[in-house]
Subunit: 252 residues, 2 copies
């Protein structure tokens, strides 16, 4: 059984992040991705230069065509890009009751350049996050979303605001180990991973899609969060460098 995973995210032509990352990670973990592209970006492995968001009317037609045809076992949300797109996603999730949703709250692209305005953070937290069983911000994103600074304060604020779980990743720190923290209403769980030597393009997309795919296979949320991190660690250890910038996780 190959779970169908609905991905709602941006497109990165260089193939490191966005739907390339999602498609590859989901296939590597035995699922199959449908994708609704929220926006086309201009970027390579070195920087992000711009983006053009997709018309809501087209997204609505695409969503109708998919939902008529396919049953989804999980949803992954990446770059949203506008309030209107967040509202479209909320309407779409209303049509998928009971389907687990993983939210990667993309607020800036990893290689620099702002992909979405910080003003989106409020509506993302108040409207979208309550529909998603877990969000997967890195610490800077968690700080922007929650208005707090320390990881525990951020995590508790995100759980309180959303009523859902939050996995805050430590990849953007410079400590010897990467510590990831899962906050739920029941408390906190942490994992530590070796910090690998390079800078990686699309690691956040890869993690969120891996967790979504494992949820689609029927793993519990804590197990999917744990196993998803292990898969990403494996992809990162095999990373390669297609251009002159960041490395790309080898999602196979």
């Amino acid at each position: 059984m190959k779970p169908n995973i609905l991905v709602i995210a941006g497109h990165d032509p260089s193939g490191g992040a966005g739907i390339h990352a999602d498609i590859e990670a989901i296939r590597a973990l035995g699922g199959f991705a449908s994708t609704l592209i929220t926006g086309l970006t201009v970027q390579n492995s070195q920087n992000v230069r711009g983006f053009q968001l997709t018309d809501i009317a087209l997204l609505e037609q695409q969503a109708d065509a998919l939902l008529e045809d396919v049953d989804y076992q999980a949803v992954k949300i990446g770059m949203t890009g506008s309030v209107a797109i967040i509202e479209f996603i909320v309407r779409l999730l209303d049509r998928l009751p009971g389907v687990p949703v993983v939210l990667d709250p993309v607020l800036a692209a990893e290689a620099g350049g702002s992909l979405t305005s910080e003003s989106l953070a409020d509506i993302m937290l108040s409207q979208l996050a309550p529909r998603c069983e877990v969000m997967t911000p890195n610490l800077p994103e968690a700080q922007t979303l929650s208005g707090k600074t320390g990881v525990q304060d951020c995590g508790q604020a995100l759980v309180t605001a959303s009523g859902q779980a939050a996995l805050i990743t430590g990849t953007h720190d410079d400590t010897e180990l990467v510590t990831n923290h899962l906050f739920t209403a029941a408390g906190e769980q942490t994992w530590q991973w070796e910090r690998l030597p390079h800078s990686y393009h699309g690691s956040g997309c890869t993690l969120a899609s891996s967790i979504a795919c494992l949820r689609g296979h029927g793993e519990s949320l804590p197990n999917a969060v744990a196993d998803g991190q292990a898969h990403v660690d494996h992809f990162l250890r095999n990373a390669f460098r297609p251009g002159n910038g960041q490395h790309v996780p080898d999602r196979r």
Copy 2:
């Protein structure tokens, strides 16, 4: 060494065809895909309902970002969608001298619905095909492009018009075996494959991307054409059915 393959093609949200097929096939064969999306389509595994082409200015910016950063070992072209996009692609290929290019001359989507006007066939054959070392039409596409009917007449006309090779596939026939014909200036070579029981979404995209990736690995054109067909036969034998319509090749 993981060859970088530049894909210029449409996006199919259902994941069967378009850049999903390209990304998956290229990863399965050990390459890595960059993608320029010529248009966003509305479709599922049952039919194609519409599409919206990408702005040329955005495609130009994306192409600039990619070519500054990455060296490409091969190019695959799928849905073009407009004369302006074909002209953009011809300009782009001028910046990639010596890089092998595989053209899948998409004129209609496999599940029905016209993705491009037949008036594009003329400019595709006169402007684009001469820059591509092989085109991979099915017989109906070869007939539209060449204005001929029989496979030999079509193949010879396409070789004469383009000065390049043409692989005409027999998948859209109803014979017991699928016969594919490679026409070059030197003559004709054929392969026969068992006709599999289902209708498949994205098999043409998968074949062209497989050939491009094998060329990117350094295989000769005849070897890449032969091995590409064998890989696609394998993907088709493992095909699955994500929705209620066509099967999808399992590109792993």
